[in-house]
């Protein structure tokens, strides 16, 4: 795995604590969306289709910190919208780091150079740059030319300044395993990033182009081809070995929708990061009053083609903790930074 040992240990300690307290449901990663405004309109994105009045609503740093404390998850993933559009994103990050949260700031990196001088490298802080493929594919998916080059330049500069940088790649119908192989080799060998996240695209009903999404059996086939390539041994993923097995259809898993609760400008989004059935004002309401058993693969039609890490990585982490063998595999992957599965 590409996550640092300190983060892996903090998550493990947190999980043990939750177990000892006998909690049935607990969050692992807070998905913090301080705004929905974005400087791109990617073809597979269903997050930013809101009226102007809502796009102009931003969470304040205090609201972001309060959400992190209310939720208690050891990891905070700042998403959106584009977080670097937020005028106080440096304050938000700094406050979360002071609270010893492991912060992953998910960005398209267009504005990265503007913010690098205002942020400080820390073991608690990682830039997670959205890159869906090499230049041609990525620029096509984000629907704007030149974004790939900007992101790559931003990553190089961030690495030079000592920041941890990982990438987040959404696998769509147009992503051929061979092209992804070249792309992952480029990320690892050329950009020398610290870790990669991969996830199949979720078929948002509001996404501008529905043809880009894979169906579940196609996803499994694509990931099977991709993750059994000989080059796989060189790729460092920010995922548990169990999640990668799940993507290849080797392990059955059900979604843990409460594992990644989502705080948005309108409140806590119910039921998960990808589906929206309204908002509640407190995390407690979200956790205790959501009918969780209604959601998941086989239970809700909207979950049919979802294999996203925001739903299944929490399942994989919990299962890893339960199995000494899987725990050992994940531990080895963290220590060596390479695949163990």
């Amino acid at each position: 795995m590409g996550i640092p040992m300190s983060e892996a240990m903090a998550v493990s300690r947190y999980l043990v604590k939750q177990k000892l307290q006998g909690k049935k449901r607990y969050p692992l990663v807070l998905m913090l969306e301080p705004l929905w405004r974005c400087n791109l309109a990617c073809v597979g994105c269903g997050k930013i289709q809101h009226p102007e009045s809502i796009l102009s609503t931003y969470l304040s740093p205090e609201e972001c910190w309060a959400a992190a404390e209310e939720c208690g998850a050891p990891v905070v993933s700042i998403a959106g919208g584009e977080p670097l559009v937020h005028p106080q994103i440096d304050e938000i990050v700094q406050g979360l780091v002071e609270r010893k949260r492991f912060v992953h700031l998910c960005t398209n990196a267009i504005l990265l150079n503007r913010w690098l001088p205002k942020l400080e490298p820390s073991k608690y802080f990682t830039f997670t740059v959205h890159l869906d493929g090499m230049r041609e594919l990525h620029d096509e998916m984000v629907d704007r030319e030149g974004v790939f080059d900007k992101a790559v330049a931003g990553i190089r500069e961030a690495k030079r300044l000592g920041f941890r940088v990982s990438t987040n790649t959404t696998v769509f119908g147009d992503s051929s395993p061979e092209e992804m192989r070249r792309f992952f080799n480029f990320l690892m060998d050329d950009l020398k990033i610290d870790g990669m996240q991969i996830s199949p695209g979720y078929d948002y009903p509001l996404a501008p182009d529905q043809s880009v999404f894979l169906k579940r059996p196609q996803m499994i086939q694509t990931f099977r081809k991709l993750l059994t390539m000989p080059d796989r041994a060189r790729w460092r993923f920010n995922h548990t070995p169990m999640f990668l097995d799940f993507l290849q259809g080797k392990l059955p898993m059900q979604c843990t929708a409460w594992g990644n609760p989502t705080r948005t400008p309108l409140g806590w989004q119910r039921p998960c990061y990808l589906m929206n059935e309204g908002y509640v004002q407190t995390f407690r309401e979200l956790l205790e009053e959501t009918e969780w058993d209604r959601y998941g693969y086989g239970r809700d039609a909207r979950c049919t083609n979802c294999m996203a890490h925001c739903g299944y990585e929490a399942t994989a982490v919990t299962a890893t903790m339960k199995s000494p063998f899987e725990g050992l595999k994940a531990g080895m992957a963290t220590l060596t930074g390479r695949k163990s599965a």
């Binding site: 579940r216 059996p217 059955p252 058993d293 693969y297 086989g298 239970r299 049919t304």
Partner: protein
């Protein structure tokens, strides 16, 4: 209101003895019996209650699945009648009974191994697998009678059935299973666990079915209220 309560085997019926279920047989026998019964009688609801194999990995033995829709290999999915389904779902939730409302898969024979279960889960996304629900749903739907199915998981997704049960068919007797089990002492712990899981599934059915029957009865009453034309 008359509910025709069906249980595929005597073991499943034993959990529901208080409500005098009709043992309809396993596999295709269940739908054949139902077709014959519906030719002469017209219940207000057909309720099929029994065990299932778990495909959803989050379901432990004794977990209850309320069938939202049922599918079978190569067949078109059948959805449970909405009014009855919603009434039961809400009642179970109000009574805080643990359950999931999900898809079931019906196959011609038992699904025995962990690998088979994983493949079926990936392909169908069904919470559980059984041998009767699709046939019963099809027969009831063809006769215009609402149906519901409630299943309790007996073998979880991450487990394989003990060897003597893998080739189980509707004609297999308990004595035959016992004889086969005795020949493989290494499997005895598996049979012990399976027996415990069967008891957990029976308990779950016993707790859940009365709530389902009450809610279904209420739904039938509401449906019987005639619509009064305006003006």
């Amino acid at each position: 209101m008359t509910v025709l309560l069906l249980a595929p085997t005597a073991r499943e019926a034993a959990a529901l003895a208080r409500w005098e279920p009709l043992v309809c047989g396993a596999g295709e026998a269940a739908s054949r019996l139902l077709e014959n019964r519906l030719a002469t009688a017209r219940p207000t609801l057909v309720l099929l209650a029994g065990f299932c194999g778990g495909l959803d990995p989050s379901l432990a033995p004794g977990s209850v699945v309320l069938c939202r829709r049922v599918t079978a290999p190569g067949a078109e999915e059948i959805e449970a009648p909405r009014a009855q389904f919603e009434a039961v779902r809400k009642a179970l939730r109000a009574q805080r009974r643990p359950f999931v409302s999900a898809r079931l898969l019906t196959t011609p024979g038992p699904v025995a191994t962990r690998a088979e279960k994983t493949d079926l889960w990936n392909e169908y996304g069904a919470a559980g697998v059984d041998m009767e629900t699709y046939g019963v749903a099809a027969a009831a739907s063809a006769a215009g009678v609402p149906w519901l199915a409630i299943r309790a998981v007996i073998d979880a997704a991450g487990t394989s059935l003990p060897r003597a049960l893998r080739s189980w068919s509707p004609g297999t007797t308990d004595q035959r299973v016992a004889a086969a089990a005795l020949r493989n002492p290494l499997d005895w712990p598996k049979y012990g666990r399976f027996a415990l899981h069967a008891r957990a599934a029976q308990r779950a059915l016993r707790r859940t079915v009365p709530v389902v029957l009450r809610a279904a009865a209420h739904a039938a009453l509401v449906e019987d209220i005639p619509l009064v034309p305006r003006g």
